[in-house]
Amino acid sequence: MPKPSIAYAAAHIFALENRLLSRDRVERMVEAPSASEALKVLSETDYAAGVSELAQPHDYEELLSGEIQRIYDFFQTISPDPEITNLFFVKYDFHNLKVLLKAAYQGREEDEFLIDSGGTLSLDHLKEAVKEEDYTQFPHYIREALEEVHEAMSFRVDPQKISVILDRAMYKHIFHVCRKKKNDFLLEYFKLQADLINIRTFLRVKKINQTFEFLKHLLLPGSELGQDFFFDSMEESVEDIVDRLASKKYSRVVEKGVETYLKTGSLSTYERLMDDFLLSYVKAARWNPLGIEPVIGYLLAKENEIRIIRIIMVGKINNIPSQIIRERLRDVYV
C-alpha cells in the first residue's frame, strides 16, 4: 500500500495524466463511421480491458460505470485526503437516495436506476435504511436531509421537492467540508459551480414562465449570487443578466451561453461552456505539486472524459452527424 501523501499522489497522477484521452483521440472517435469504430479508438487507451468485455457497443454504459468504480477505488488508495476527494463522489449517494425515496413514495421497489459504482455509502445499507426509515447509522448531513424530506412529504408528495432537498443538502455538505478543511481552492470551485448552475436554473425557470417563488427553492446554497440577485433579474429581460455578471470570472460563459440560448433556445452551449470553464479553473492550478489541486484536476478530467465518451457513443449509436456531436463536446484536460 503506498503511503497517501500529497507529494506521492501528485507524482503518481502526473504519470497517469498522460494516459487521459487526448484531443486527437477524441477527434478520431467523433469522426469514426460507426459506434464500434469509435470503441476501437477507445481500445487503444486505458479503456482497452473494459472495451474487450463489451458484447456490443450499446452496452457502453457498463464500460463507463466500471471506469467510475475504478477511479473511486483508485482514489480511495491514493487520495491524501479522502474526505475531500469524496466530495466528488457523494453525488452518486444522493442520486441513489433520490431513486430509493422516489420509489418508496410510489410504493414500489427500484433497482434498475441505482448507480452501484462510485458511491461512498454502501448501496445495501441505503436500501435497508430507506426501507426501515432508520437513518441513524448515516453521517449527519444525510440524516438531516432525509428527515427534511420526510417532513416535507408528510403533507403531500412532490417528487421535485425530493430532488431539490437532496441537491441542496449535498451542496451544504460540500461547502461545510470545504470550510472545515480550509481549502480555498475547492471552496472557490464549488462556489463557481453553484453560481453557474443557479444561473442555468434561472434561465430554465424563466423559459417556462414560472415565478420567483418557484425559482427560490431550486437555487443551490453557497452561491455568491444571492436570492436578491435573482429576484431582481426575474423582473428584467434575459440579456440584462449578462451585463450584471460582466465583472465575474465566468462572464464569458454567461455571455456566449446566453447569446446562443437566445438565438436557438437551447442551453447546450451554456452547459458545455460551463463544464469547460470549471475544468479550466482546475487546469490552471494543476502545476502545484504540493497541493491537492492536481489530484482534483485528474478526478475532474476523468469525469469529463466519461462525459465526452458518453456524448460520442450516444451520438454514434444514433447516427447523429459529427457536427452536432462536436457542438456538445467538452474540452479535454491535457
Partner: protein, 217 residues
C-alpha cells in the same frame, strides 16, 4: 349464368320474385351506404395524413432533443429525473357511430395539480435540454391521441367499406342476375309445361272425339 337448383313451381317463383325485390332494394341501399362511407373516408384519410405528418415531424424533433439530453446525462440520472411523474392524464374511451360503424372516441383530460411543479426533477443535476424535450413531448400528447383516434376510425371504416363493397358486388353481379335467370327459367319451364299439357289435352280431346265417332258409326 348458372341457374339455381330449384323446383320450377309457381310457389318457388313467387318466393324468388319476392327475394329479387328485396335484393334489388338492398343493393340500392348498400350502394348508397358505400358511397357515403367513401365520401367520409376520403375526408378522414386526408385529415389523418396531415396530422400524421405533423406529429411525426414534431416527434422526430422532440426525440432528437431528448437524445441529446440523454447524451449529456447518464442513463440513471435521466431515469431518476422522470421516474416519478407529477402530471396525470385521464383517458376516457367511448364509442361514436359513423354510418353504423362503431369508432373509438378518446377524451383526454389532464388532472392538474396546481401546487405541484410540472417538472418532477431538480434543476441542479439535470440538463437544460431535458426541459425543452419534455415540454415538446407533453404538447404532442393530445395530438398523438387525436391521431390514434383518427387512424383507428379510418381503419374500421376501411374494413366496413370493403365488406360493403363486397356485398354490393355480390348482389349486383351474382345474386341478382342469378335470381333473374332462375325466374326466367321457371317462367319458361312453366310456360312449357302449360303448352305441353294443353297439347296433351287437345290430343286427348281429339282421341275422345275419334272414339265417340267410331262408336256412333
Amino acid at each position: 349464368m348458372a341457374v339455381m337448383r330449384v323446383n320450377p313451381t309457381r310457389m318457388e317463383l313467387t318466393r324468388l320474385k319476392k327475394r329479387l325485390a328485396t335484393a334489388v332494394r338492398g343493393h340500392k341501399l348498400l350502394k348508397d351506404k358505400r358511397d357515403e362511407m367513401m365520401r367520409r373516408f376520403v375526408g378522414l384519410v386526408r385529415k389523418n395524413k396531415e396530422l400524421r405528418e405533423q406529429v411525426e415531424k414534431e416527434l422526430t424533433k422532440a426525440l432528437g432533443d431528448f437524445l441529446m439530453a440523454r447524451a449529456v446525462m447518464s442513463t440513471e440520472v435521466l431515469e431518476e429525473a422522470v421516474m416519478y411523474p407529477t402530471r396525470e392524464v385521464e383517458l376516457k374511451v367511448s364509442k361514436r357511430n359513423i354510418m353504423s360503424v362503431d369508432v373509438p372516441k378518446i377524451e383526454y383530460e389532464e388532472k392538474s395539480q396546481e401546487s405541484l411543479s410540472p417538472y418532477p426533477y431538480g434543476f441542479a443535476s439535470t440538463s437544460g435540454e431535458l426541459d425543452g424535450s419534455i415540454a415538446t413531448l407533453s404538447e404532442i400528447l393530445p395530438r398523438m391521441l387525436e391521431l390514434a383516434e383518427l387512424e383507428k376510425t379510418c381503419q374500421l371504416l376501411a374494413d366496413e367499406i370493403e365488406k360493403t363493397r363486397r356485398r354490393v358486388n355480390a348482389l349486383e353481379h351474382i345474386m341478382i342476375p342469378q335470381m333473374e335467370e332462375t325466374i326466367r327459367y321457371i317462367t319458361m319451364k312453366m310456360d312449357e309445361d302449360e303448352r305441353a299439357s294443353r297439347t296433351r289435352l287437345m290430343k286427348v280431346k281429339d282421341m275422345i272425339e275419334e272414339r265417340s265417332r267410331q262408336s256412333s258409326d
